[in-house]
Symmetry: C2
Subunit: 394 residues, 2 copies
């Protein structure tokens, strides 16, 4: 009876998802309990199609290169798994002699992994399942934070920091920067790390967790303009109005992903129009979008470390005979940073969304100090130092 | 009679405009011909208001930090200079004992510098003027390339490269990336550097130089989807239709800058809507915007070098008694890269816009090889290596 391992990626890629794959391969190679290391192309969709590649003999140089290659090197998918699909998944497991199944992803993927685990428990299939957490949205429960978040947080905070310097030097009064995050505002919140001095961007932060009241927003922009002469806003792509509708014109449109979630985008454009039309002030928007989750240059070293560790832990977990858990992260050291992997039942993790808690929030103008305490280490180090000229009167 | 130098920045900042300021300060300090080094805050607008700071005694550590600080450390402006303004400019020159005036900017700023020079020639004022070229748009004539372009080119090409990897790994079929550039498509063109293998992004490139015919665009996307299953488009923010109108909904709106130029933005959003509505295919857009000209991390070392050199050359030029020139760049070596500064008359440079020439273009699917020959060195080095797994059949 072969003891093959199958790994697959679900949902949106990150700058470090390949680091977890690196961890899986390295640990599986070192283990005496894995015969062949297989990867499904494009996630569970690849499992269903039997589109599987064998990485057992992949050259070490290429495996090492996974650590510095963005997006998913084995592809990903947003396929919503149906009841009938589970039969075909287990057919594939049988065909490829899969004993270990590792699914790397966010909420939807952990739900899929949980159902595969349940099905294995309910049948005679000797398949052990583990979930590897991954989401730039940082919205998985039962983990201190999610691999992928720290790097995207560093990207968007660094981007808002650069944007703030630009807006300060050339007076376009208002700029709205759209930050990824559909339902949880962790990434928009993280842009607060760009602030070092009074008057630094972002001046206002809008998360999906708190409704945006148009009149309040315009007042806040107006007040910021009066105080600083400029206003940089970090707005989550999932920002909503009082009725729960997205501010985005895209929401409710024809564009939905495989889970029926609307494709986000357009919030910043709408908010910039509000400012231009209602305040009569020049406003522009920036929407870095997907590159924000794919930048190797802007990555967090903490994030790289954690992504590798959860990948390795998943292999150890299933080869030790365990099944049905996601590899949660527990923070156990602050200086230097240290973490433990703490398995959490997939049944608890699945489909629970951890949004930014109230104690981390502090209105539109900022985040609570407790949030910066939470965030700091995840950014993987300070930003490059930018100077300001002192000058003397001429 | 004091021999003070006044430097000012006009137009959009870049990732290296402060490098030119560094060059100016370092060269002026080394020169025996400059008494005080003054900088106007927010460009010619600061000159008009007498808002001038003295950088003569700025600590060297802060001056050194200019090389790694984005945006304009002395501020910039888009003020359109009127005839009456020139009297006030010369009043300010007299008040601050200005003998040397250096204006760093693009087309509009070179026009301003030229008029200041002409006014000095026509009067008894002993003021010598030089222009320091700077624009991410790369559209100044009488120079091989413009400081600021190489870094923004590296940013947008690297961004499209990351985007391409993401789109390849997770099948959102179409992504439109909006690239800065109002009237000249140099930056959108530069994203072609992201292509290493067949099927790599960008699959299509649209410049303002060539009209976008909607039906042709949709056919090109459709054909790309048939061939590769995905399509990443790099579209210049200044992309226009057959009638010369911007594709952007923002064009013609109330948002205009101080020169009456419409504020660009929105092209990618429009093109993504076309794809979703007409082809029935999921499409998203990214619009990195201003951070694309402000990223220190993504900068080109060639660009840093050139920006410093043109700043230094401008000081040497005016202290040698010359006036009325922009410090053009001549490329004199390819391996290793070498350049000379070649002064060009401001009267010729002013208001001439150098667009992407026909011999660099090759239709929507790419750029001519001659363009890559032109671009390569300006990017300041290769991109980080990304791997692709080989895998074997399972």
């Amino acid at each position: 009876m072969a003891r093959n391992l199958l790994v697959a990626h679900g949902g949106g890629p990150t700058a470090v998802i390949n680091c977890s794959l690196y961890g899986v391969i390295v640990e599986a190679r070192a283990s005496g309990d894995v015969d062949r290391i297989l990867a499904a192309r494009h996630g569970i969709a690849g499992v269903l199609k039997g589109d599987v590649m064998d990485l057992t003999d992949e050259p070490q140089q290429i495996v090492d290169g996974l650590r510095t290659t963005p997006a998913s090197a084995v592809g990903s998918c947003r396929h919503k798994v149906t009841d009938e699909d589970y039969d075909r998944i287990f057919d594939a497991f049988e065909r490829f002699d899969i004993k270990y199944f590792l699914y790397n992803g966010g909420n939807d993927s952990m739900d899929t992994a949980n159902k595969v685990h349940q099905r294995a428990c309910d049948s005679s299939a000797d398949v052990r399942v583990a979930g590897i957490p991954k989401t730039i949205d940082n919205d998985l429960a039962y983990t201190d934070h999610c691999p992928g978040f720290g790097s995207a947080a560093r990207y968007f905070a660094g981007t808002v920091r650069d944007l703030g310097r630009d807006i300060e030097s050339l007076p376009t009064p208002v700029s709205i920067c759209e930050v990824m995050g559909r339902n949880a505002g962790w990434l928009a919140a993280a842009t607060v790390a760009a602030r070092e001095d009074d008057g630094d961007a972002p001046h206002l932060i809008y998360l999906p967790e708190t409704p945006v009241v148009k009149s309040d927003f315009l007042s806040a922009v107006d007040n910021t303009l009066k105080q600083w002469g400029r206003c940089v806003v970090a707005a989550s792509e999932g920002a909503r109005d009082e009725t729960g509708n997205s501010l985005s014109t895209a929401e409710g449109g024809a564009n939905v992903d495989g889970f029926g979630h609307p494709l986000p985008g357009g919030v910043a454009s709408v908010m910039a129009d509000w400012v231009a039309q209602e305040l009569g002030v020049r406003a522009r928007y920036e929407k870095p979008g997907i590159p924000g989750r794919a930048s190797i240059l802007c990555r967090s070293e903490t994030d790289v470390h954690d992504a590798i560790e959860v990948g390795r832990a998943a292999v150890r977990h299933v080869t030790a005979g365990e099944s049905g858990h996601m590899m949660g992260i527990e923070r156990v050291g602050e200086n230097p940073y240290a973490m433990n992997v703490v398995p959490a039942p997939l049944s608890k993790v699945a489909n629970v969304e951890r949004r930014v808690p109230a104690e981390f929030m502090a209105g539109a103008s900022g985040m609570a100090p407790a949030f910066m305490d939470y965030l700091r280490l995840l950014l993987g180090g300070p930003f490059p130092q930018y100077i300001r000229l002192t000058g003397s009167p001429a």
